[in-house]
Amino acid sequence: MRGRPLLYTRYEADQAILNTVTKKVMVLIFLSALLLIPFQVLPGLDFLGENDWLRLLSTVAIFIIGALGLNILLGLAGQVSLGHAFFMGVGAYVAAVLGSDPEGLRLGFGLPMWIWLPAAGVVAAGIGVAFGPAAVRVRGLYLAFVTLGLVFVGDYVFRNLISVTGGAEVGRTFPPLEFRLWKEDTPLIDFASDGAWFGIELTSEAKTFYFVLAVAILFMLLAKNLQRTRVGRAFQAIRDRDIAAEIMGVDEVSFKLRAFGISSFYAGVSGALLASFVGTVIPARWDLFLSIQFIAIVLIGGAGTVAGVVLGTAFVTLLPRLVQDATLWMEDVVETGDNLLATLLDLVVATESTDFGLINTLPGVGPGLSVFQLNQVIYGLLIILFLIFEPLGLFGIWIRIRNYWKGWPFTY
């Protein structure tokens, strides 16, 4: 057995979530690295433990949950949805109504998180299933437009339900992440203040990071498990050929409804966590661009795979920060240095209002893209380039690297 790691003698071993030694080792290393990040002990990666990076990594974990949901719908069941942002918004507002302070400015019932977080998912899933019959009747490209309509109708509803959402300009506050048993005054566990867990001093950012990481890992396991159940295989059969799936006894309508329900559940939870994590959100947060961002995550990562979703989310969510840092570095080089590099970079960044540059960090002055706009252009380019050159996404690149080393030194 030791020399032949891919020889399975039992079906369960083949179907295990981590079915090879390499996977087990890598997941173990990755997890311990994640757990150590807040203590700033990883050589070369200690900056990740700083508070702003921890907040960013928490956002990644929350986005992973939403992206896993879209991956189930798009990658497994093959249904195009541009309406993911709408379901995230539904989840966020359900959480806000159930969890917010009853004496607050907007509607709230002051219920604890163990009620509002699952409820956010359940209500979103319910709306997803209720919307399902329309989505089942319409197929393929028409479905993309129907879900596009959902985003715009949702945007209108969110903007006008002022008692719930706070209106287009102001938005509303969301309940903080904290555990209470019921409506008692001091929360059992809170993430807002620094403190000790099991004798280890942690900042509030570190606590939040551990919490969202745990939720994300739970949802990852659920998604990974779904792929090997009857439901997951039925989704893939529908994706590959819906009529063939029906002939094999897969009830198309029922399973498409389930795909929409599960996907919307993930979206609802992700939206609730995101809004709660950010604190104050305006309705325009749940717009078409958020949906496109999730499609970009799934396509860049690799549709249909959990590992791909994680890679894609990290890539897409951290990209703005990397672009920003790179811009600051370039500005720094241009302003201090006098060498060839500074001359070349001077063409890229604009340092003064009269200076020409592709990137212009001074808002509203002269031509040139702001860092935000540059990010958007890079998103667009990445979506296009990945679809043209690497349709399997980052996961596909990993597969090719893996296969290269598998056959080494006889790789050709």
């Binding site: 309509g149 903007r159 006008n160 819906d242 702001s370 380019l381």
Partner: protein, 341 residues
């Protein structure tokens, strides 16, 4: 004294017609949606690409027109003394040529490599194009509105005016039953001309080649048709249509200030018109465009109850689209996909 009273009495008989305003507004909206849908459907039919970048292309086209007509004033700066309308028309033609070239370049760079891929994957590529073109266009437009510089301005034709049912350029203080903006007349005429032009184009040699390509790309190639050239032509026509749609959006009744960063989003409302008529139907695009235009206009005129809140007119197209798709999943005139095992 008596004459003054008489005029007052006459004025009170002229009541601005809400219905008339609704119809005029519906025609204007319908022309916008129909032109945008037409360009979209031509691209979809000829190249099997679902073009989500159409809104961005319309904003880009409108900005190009604004650039040529007002910002850099080409060719107007070299032809002082010639009539204003001639300068403007030439500027628009220049801008449309440039828009067509950009459309062809986008097709060649990003969509040619995707031939043979799944329709959905290609549609997502256009979503990427949409982000890029929209962001760069909006960066050029900036925080202000860029006026189109069209010679119509705010002029209107009044029907049933206070000074006797005079048809002519009514100025804005005068009371009329219905006012038709010159821009709406221009939009209507141009829409009819373009629809007729497209109908004639499909009877020309290139048009027949395009129809053959739409029917079956491989068979078309076997007949000696250059499919690549057909794709380029379709994208050129689509980009020109999008630019004209953007021009219509950025004129008097909608956005008198000109093209701004909202224009690309306005064009997203044309998608329901496309779906309503059916993705691959030219007739459907026109019928769908005007139907959605009238529905939106009627909703904004009559459905003004307080509980509906603001911006209800803007979502009416989507609601109509959802309802129609539930009854007819391939739109009113779309080809039903035959599913074979």
């Amino acid at each position: 004294m008596t004459s003054g009273l008489l005029i007052l009495a006459q004025e009170s008989t002229v009541v601005p017609s809400e219905f008339g305003r609704m119809v005029v507004n519906g025609i204007s909206l319908g022309a916008i949606y129909a032109i945008l849908a037409l360009g979209f459907v031509i691209i979809f039919k000829a190249t099997q690409v679902l073009n989500f970048a159409h809104g961005a292309l319309s904003a880009m086209g409108a900005f190009l027109i604004a650039s040529f007509a007002t910002i850099i004033n080409v060719p107007g700066r070299w032809m002082e003394g010639s009539p204003v309308w001639l300068q403007w028309v030439l500027s628009v033609v220049f801008a449309l040529v440039l828009a067509a070239l950009i459309g062809m370049a986008l097709e060649r760079m990003f969509l040619r490599p995707m031939i043979g891929e799944a329709l959905f994957a290609v549609a997502i590529v256009t979503l990427g194009i949409d982000i890029i073109v929209r962001t760069i266009t909006n960066d050029f437009i900036g925080q202000t509105s860029r006026p189109m510089g069209d010679p119509f301005g705010l002029k209107t034709v009044g029907l049933g005016c206070a000074n006797g049912g005079f048809i002519g350029e009514a100025d804005l203080v005068e009371l009329c039953t219905v006012r038709i903006p010159w821009t709406t007349v221009f939009q209507m005429i141009l829409t009819i001309a373009l629809v007729a032009g497209v109908a004639m184009f499909f009877r020309s040699r290139t048009g027949i080649a395009m129809r053959a390509t739409a029917w079956d790309q491989e068979v078309a190639r076997a007949q000696g048709i250059s499919v690549g050239r057909i794709f380029a032509t379709a994208w050129a026509i689509g980009a020109v249509m999008a630019a004209i749609g953007g021009l219509f959006i950025s004129m008097f009744p909608r956005r008198p200030g000109g093209v701004d960063t909202f224009t690309a989003f306005f064009a997203f409302r044309a998608f329901p018109a496309i779906i309503l008529g059916g993705l691959d139907s030219i007739l459907g695009a026109i019928v769908g465009g005007f139907a959605i235009g009238f529905a939106e206009s009627a909703a904004s005129t009559y459905l003004t109850f307080g509980f509906l809140g603001t911006g209800f007119g803007g979502v009416v197209p989507y609601i109509v689209m959802l309802l129609v798709l539930l009854i007819r999943p391939y739109g009113l005139f779309g080809t039903e996909e035959i599913r074979r095992v």
